[in-house]
Every structure is written in C-alpha cells, then in structure tokens.
Amino acid sequence: MKAGPGLSIGAGAALLALPFLTGNTYLHHLMVLWMLYALLAMSLNIVIGYLGELNFGHAAFFGIGAYTTAILATRFGVPAILGLIAAAVAAGSFGLLIGYVALRIRGPQFAILTLGFGSILYTIANYWIDLTRGPMGISNLPLFSLAPGWMVLESARGSYLLVTTCVLACAYACHALTRSSTGRAFIAVRENERLAASIGIDVFRTKLLGFVVATALAGVGGALYAHYIRVVTPELLGVQYMVAMIIIVVVGGRGTIVGPILGAFIYVALLEALRAFGPLRMVTFSVLLTASVIFLPAGLAGHRGEAAAPEPCGGRIMTQAPLIATTGLIRRFGGLVAVNSVDLQIARGEIVGLIGPNGAGKTTLFNLLAGSLPPSDGRITFDGQDCSLHTAAQMARLGLTRTFQITSLFPALSVLDNVITATYRGARTGWFAALRHSAAFVREEQAVRQLACDTLDFCGLGARQHILADSLSYGEQRQLEIAIALAAQPRLLLLDEPAAGMNPEEAQRLVGMIRAIRDRGITVLLVEHHMRVVLAVCDRVIVLDHGVKIAEGAPHAVIRDPEVIRVYLGREPAHA
C-alpha cells in the first residue's frame, strides 16, 4: 500500500490491540474468524490477484492443511507447531503437483480443473473413512500451543493474537513480494502474458511458484483454523468455503494487500449484521455481493498504478551486437505457406527494414524469429547458436526483444512500473532478498530504478513516469513499448510497425530514436509500412511477398526495383 512504514506498523499494532478493547468473548470469536478468513483470502489473492488465474479449488488446500494437522495430532500426538509446518508442506506439495498439471491450461478450463481437484478431495474426505473418519470428521483436536503444554491458547484472544501475527507477517511478505523482481514477474504475467514472455519471464515457472506459495499458505491457514475450531469435517473442502474466499478477495480488492483483510471484515461483519434480516439474510447477502462485483469490479481497495518516488538517473548499457541468421525458414498454416524458405542475415549494429504488402508474411517471420511461433522447417541461429525451437522467453534471455503490432503494455501499471518490470532479465535478487531487505536488494532496486528512468528519458517519456500506461496517448504508448523492450537490455530489437498510427512529427522523432538505439550498440530489425521512416533509418531493406523474399538491398535501390513496385502499388509498374 502507498502508506509510510510508520503508518503500516501503527495499523498492525492497532489490529493486535483490538481484542483488549472489549471483554466480550463472542466478539473475540468473530475477530478470530475475521483474521482466519483474511489469511485464507490473502493466500487466494496471490493466485487471483497477482497471477490473474481464477482458482476454484483453493478450499481444498485449506482442507489439506486442516486434515494434515488433525490426523497428526489425534493419531500420533504430534505437537501443533509441527502440525502447522506439516500442513504447509502437505498443501504446498499438492499445490506443486496440481499446479504442474493445471497451470498449463488457462482461463475457464483452469478454473474447472481446480474445481475438479477440490471435488476429488471432498470425496476422499467423505469416503476414506479409515483416514478421515468420513462425514463425521475428526473432533477433539488439541488447542494450539507453541510447545507441548507450553503457551496453550485457551482463549479466543490468544488465538486472535497468533492468527493476527500470521496475517501481519503475510502482509509484510506480500509487500516485499510486490517490490521484488519476483512480484513484478507475477504481475507482468497477469497483465500481459505475451509481453511478459518477450521480456524473458518464464511464464509457467512464475505461475507455479506463485501457486505453490499460495497453497502452502492456505495449508497454514487450514491448520490454524483446525486447532481453533477443533473439529475438521469434509465441509472445509466444500463449495461454501471456496465461494466465501472468492467473495472476500473480490469484494476486498484483488491484487492489493489490505483488500483481503478488508473483505474478510466485511464478510464476517455483514453476515453477523444480516442476522437481523432473518430468513432474508442470505438473499440480501447475494444481492450485495453481485452488486459489488458489477459496480466495483476492482473491489473496495481497488488498485490504481502504485508509482514510487522518482530517483536520479544514470548509467547506460553497451553490448556487442550478435548476428541472427535463418536458413530455409518455412512456416505453414494449414495449406497456406506464410513464410517460404526465407534466408536472411543481420549483422551486428545494422538497422534492417522488412517490408512488403499486407499479408506478405512479415509478422509471421517476426514471430518465428522471436520464438513466438515454432517454424515448420528451417533453422534460426542467434549469435552462432541454434535456437530454432526456443520459446519467446528463451529468446528474450538470449537478448532478443520485440514490440508488437498491436500495442502491448501492462495497462494497469504506471509508466515507470512498466519499464521496471521489463528489467526482469537482469535481476539477481528476488523475493527472499526483498523479505530480508538485504543490501544487495536495495542496491539492485536503485540500479533498476535508474535504468528505468534513464530508458524513459531516452524514449522521451521522462515526464510521464507516474501516469497509468493505459492513459497515455497512442503515440506515447508506442514509445513506452520501445522503452519496455529496451529495458530488457536486448542485443537485437525487433520493432513491429513502430510508426503505425503516428503523425509525421512523431514518426520523425521515432527515426531519431531508432538511430540512437543503434548507437547504443543494439541491432534493429523493423517491419514498417511508413516508407519515409524506412528510407530514413534503414541501412538495408528486405522485401517479402507471399512469404518469399523478393528483393534485398539498399533502401533507395530496392524501392526502384520494378518487381517491388508491382507488388506494392498494384498490377502495373508506377509511372510517376
């Protein structure tokens, strides 16, 4: 959140002091429920809010945690504190397994797959009676204690302090996460998977990491819940807990730190308050929920771009440019050959233009080079290394970054955060360094911020750092795309129609910018329709038509080639 550390610490202390304001034990009980729900919602928020995947099986991990500690405690007399750790490990391991399977799939299928997993566990909890005692559940769990017989939490107030401490620790961990390169990778994946891959983020591994952390945390929540309520039944795995958690996250504000705490408060308080409505309680509740989804889609703590304070800039990157080459590159779509035996070579430090009429296969060729599409045949080498089958993220890590024909940004982040996110490839520290707030982390964050400021200044966006990317003008968005690509520190930059939709002055500025990019030692390949830009900036031009390279050479020579004029202007050679 955008509050100073003092305020956050104050709020945390106030939260801990809350039960001492009243001696009413029922209120204490509600407070414990509030914090337990907040903890669970925080874990779900990592998946829904940061990774942007709808997980309907989350209650299952909560249940795994609860059953793990319940079985260990009642069968083997394992102390609660060890049960807690075991619960985290068990839930996290299942999370790894399920995530490994399900995260390959996106959208509704993912949601339903997780739902299916939850239902399997529900069935097991009901029918594997030897282990779980079936629908009756496991009762008489021992109260939570830090060591056997020591500091037993007998009062609700004690439990509240324990759970609230966990919630606060979790809030700090989420805060550290959002400030680290790991957290930026999470958000990049949520905002724009394709762009995330193009700046070198391994989308699948990032999701898996988030999923495992979230499930382990849900396991901890389940264990705490089990020792507080002291009964574990299959209902914990059921639909109603899943729905409750989703409601809390969505109403509170997904992707925020206080959102789950706020949402859990509203959930518990509202259900209590609505008791006055008697039988209308649940109906009123569902109406309020639906209305909040429709009218407040971002939730109560809904996030805006959280821009950090600017810091002085400096530093530049110089790299020896490599050479990319293709031989006999072919890509078929069904019967259509979009790219047909293309051989091309780009030398270090060159600016090469790729032109041709619409539908000539330029973008397909681009996608092949960038690893976004696998070739049907042929080879691509980058810096002498065969990378025909590399993914986009792998190519990005080698030093090839691209922009997209249709503007592709992280729309809900500030301009500065867009660029900071793109420095992922160079990041050495991650979440754990951020948690410890280590010196290396602080140094690196400073360097990253400097690099981002520098890149923004370079791209003429220095004054616009704190605006949401979504609210930039069209021309500025295209500049920001280039800034993102540059912040990934490429050796080869692929620009897909950078001048499309730009007015003449903007196009002129773009020409200067591309030259300056090359002067930084970066090789540039661009697809462009704006001939003035191509002529002004390119050292060499390659012309494609129907997937075949039909001409190649100095720009002014190429556009006088009668064959090029024919494919470009219509059926007859021009006579101007």
């Binding site: 259509l336 009429p357 619409n358 539908g359 609210s471 069209y474 129609e497 499309a500 939709g501 730009m502 007015n503 329709h529 704006h530 001939m531 003035r532 191509v534 002529l535 002004a536 129907h546 002014h556 556009i559 006088r560 004029i565 024919r566 494919v567 470009y568 202007l569 219509g570 059926r571 007859e572 021009a574 101007a576």
Partner: protein, 235 residues
C-alpha cells in the same frame, strides 16, 4: 447518398477518427486510401454501426443512421464487407449466402434472382456451394464475403481491403468484379492499400492520415499527385 459529417470516433478513450467529412453519391465508386493505422477500417466500422461515434453525424439518404444497430443499417441497403472477410469457418457457402439475405431490403430483385446474380458473378462459388468456408482459398473466401454482402440487396457496398492476401491473378479478378458490380448499379466505397488499383477503379478518392482526411480529389488527380505516392513510398 451517404454523408459523414464532422465525425469523431474511437475505441474506449482512444479517439482514432477526428473531424471526418466524406460524401458518397449515388452510382459512384469512391476510394479511401492511406497507410496502415490511418483509421480507414475504423471509419467503415463506425459507418456500419459497430462503433458509436462520439461526435458528428452519419446520414443515409438524409436520415441519421449513427444511432442505429448494424442490422438496422444493413436493412436500409448499406452493407459493409469487412477486412479479413470474417466468415463462419464451419458453415457452407450456401449457408453464408442464406444468412446474407436475412435483412434484405424489399423491392428490387428477389432472393432467387440475387442468388443467381452472385453465382453468375462468381462461378467458382457455384461449384463449391456445399463446401465449408474454412476450406476455401483466400480468393474464394473473398468471393463468399462479397456474395454474402450482395445477398442483402444493398444499394451501397463498402469493401474493406478486398485484395488483402490475394494472389496477383486474383487481384485482377477482383478489379473486374468491382467494375461489374458498379455496372449493376451499385454504389461502392472501397478501402484499399494498393492505391494504383483503387484509384484506377474509383472516380473520386480521399486520403487519410492519422485519423484525418488530408486530401480529396478526383481519382485521376490523386493518381498523379506526387504527395499521395510519397505517403506510400517516400520517393
């Protein structure tokens, strides 16, 4: 016949079109040229009711149509054949033509006559009438898209990049088709990237750049105007 007056439109908060004024008179072929991203397709989408203008007006035979639904506009005889054809990949050629006739204007030719006309214009479709659109070649798909539009019995046809992705020989056929449709009495507004082709077919033309109309003149004059060529080839 079709008048666009001071039109402003875009996607969400992004205004793409600014202060657009164009006119298409009965029986004309008018072309709209300009580089990628100039806003040509956005203009056609706004005319056909897919996008709502934020300012200005669109008149058809004097009637305001800028608040009508797309199917209401089609029923008045103004039909948009979109870029990229937008066919239904799993449906047959005949089904496309049947659906095209859903909102046919009354009067003029009967449905059967129109079907005959389309199959006469595009004999290749007659052979593939039962085939699914997804299995056709690019040129044949373009014929289906135009045929589907013609089945609505339009008085004005708006063609968006009809030559896109066609082999050169098909582009010639396309030019012949436009001439033939015009001879049938249709008014045509054509958006085309191959400017020589477009300006040779049309009587008048508009040049668009970054969401504005920057030039308008007779097609012959635009064809000679070095500035038009420059906008494309820079030479």
């Amino acid at each position: 016949m079709l008048e666009v007056i001071n039109l402003e439109a875009g996607y969400g908060r992004h205004t793409v079109l600014r202060d657009i004024c164009i006119e298409v008179r009965e029986g004309e072929i008018v072309t709209l040229v300009g580089s990628n991203g100039a806003g040509k397709s956005t203009l056609l989408k706004t005319i056909s009711g897919l996008l709502r203008p934020t300012a200005g007006a669109i008149r058809w035979d004097g009637e305001r149509i800028d608040r009508l639904s797309t199917h209401g506009i089609i029923a008045r005889g103004l039909v948009h054949v979109p870029e990229g054809r937008q066919l239904f990949a799993g449906m047959t050629v005949l089904e496309h033509l049947e659906l095209g006739a859903l909102r046919a204007t009354r009067g003029g030719k009967s449905r059967a006559q129109r079907l005959d006309l389309v199959l006469h214009l595009f004999p290749a479709l007659a052979e593939r009438i039962g085939q699914k659109a997804g299995s056709l070649s690019g040129g044949e798909q373009q014929m289906v898209a135009v045929g589907r539009g013609l089945m609505a019995n339009p008085r004005c046809l708006m063609l968006d990049e009809p030559s896109l992705g066609l082999a050169p020989i098909m582009v010639d056929a396309l030019a012949d088709m436009v001439t033939a449709l015009h001879a049938e009495g249709l008014t045509i507004l054509i958006v085309e990237q191959r400017i020589d082709l477009a300006l040779r077919l049309a009587q008048r033309g508009y040049v668009m750049e970054t969401g504005r109309i920057v030039m308008q003149d007779s097609a012959a004059a635009l064809l000679k105007d070095p500035r038009v060529r420059e906008a494309y080839l820079g030479a």
